[in-house]
């Protein structure tokens, strides 16, 4: 039988893979995808807990996480276009005008 811990472990694995990607990848778009992954693993936790606790609040939170993620993606991609227009690259190695 699958308990809530199985779901939590699965989501922790995905969250860690996402964090790993954020730390190791150089391409800003891929870093952004990894952040979406992290948020998705959070969604999984909420859905699993929502069922475990027999309580709708967890699913409601997922709704807000999705909305925030969509807003962040829109702004982030616009910023990437702005950065690319100036620098012809979105590699984090090129984030060097300001001392990192």
């Amino acid at each position: 039988m699958i308990s809530v811990y199985h779901y939590l472990i699965l989501s922790a694995i995905i969250f860690s893979i996402g964090t790993f990607g954020v730390l190791t990848r150089k391409n800003a778009i891929v870093i952004f995808m990894c952040i979406e992954l992290m948020l998705n693993s959070v969604n999984l936790t909420f859905i699993a807990l929502s069922r475990h606790l027999q309580n709708m609040d967890g699913q409601i939170f997922v709704f807000f996480v999705m909305a925030v993620a969509a807003a962040e993606a829109a702004v982030g991609l616009a910023l990437m276009i702005a950065f690319y227009r100036n620098r012809e690259s979105i590699d984090t190695d090129d984030f060097n005008m300001l001392k990192w």
Partner: protein, 174 residues
């Protein structure tokens, strides 16, 4: 049965996620990410959250990932156009095919289990109706805030993404 589906979907999600994070070509990452989102959506369905599962597919796999794909193609970030001309090698398409096949199997299996009938989810099931009631009844204020947030995100994205123009605004001071 539900146990098996969970393990297959969990494996698909983890493998697809790992592949997405490690691919060099951003387009490949997007494809694996979509796989991972589909697996997660099915797990949501298994957990008695059909509405959120649908959103996962519509918003994440549909809207956000297409937006990513659009930007990748617009900025021409995908490397190795010469390699693409010969068609992708088996090593490139085989993992996606396997993951997709696993997802398809799970979909067929899921169709056998109807969560509403209480087989897969013995104790709890959130129908879209219940969800909508709680969302717009208890959390109406939060919905308003989040919609304002989306509005200003759209305004900001329009403003920042538009190319800078040097035309002067009328009516400015001094």
């Amino acid at each position: 049965m539900a146990t098996w589906i969970f393990y297959i979907l969990g494996a698909v999600a983890v493998v697809a996620t790992a592949m997405a994070v490690t691919r060099r070509n951003p387009v490949h990452s997007v494809i694996y990410l979509v796989n991972s989102f589909f697996a997660l959506a099915m797990i949501f369905y298994l957990l008695g959250a059909p509405l959120v599962a649908a959103w996962e597919v519509i918003i994440y796999a549909g809207a956000i990932m297409v937006l990513f794909l659009f930007i990748i193609m617009m900025l021409e970030l995908s490397p190795g156009e010469e390699a693409d001309r010969q068609g992708p090698g088996a090593l490139q398409w085989l993992p996606v095919l396997l993951l997709g096949a696993a997802l398809l199997t799970c979909t067929l299996l899921l169709l056998q289990l109807d969560p509403a009938a209480g087989q897969a989810v013995p104790n709890w099931y959130a129908s879209p109706r219940d969800f909508g009631y709680v969302l717009f009844h208890e959390y109406a204020l939060a919905v308003e805030i989040v919609s304002f947030q989306l509005l200003f995100a759209a305004v900001g994205a329009f403003y920042v993404g538009r190319a800078a123009s040097r035309e002067k605004q009328p009516g400015g001071q001094q």
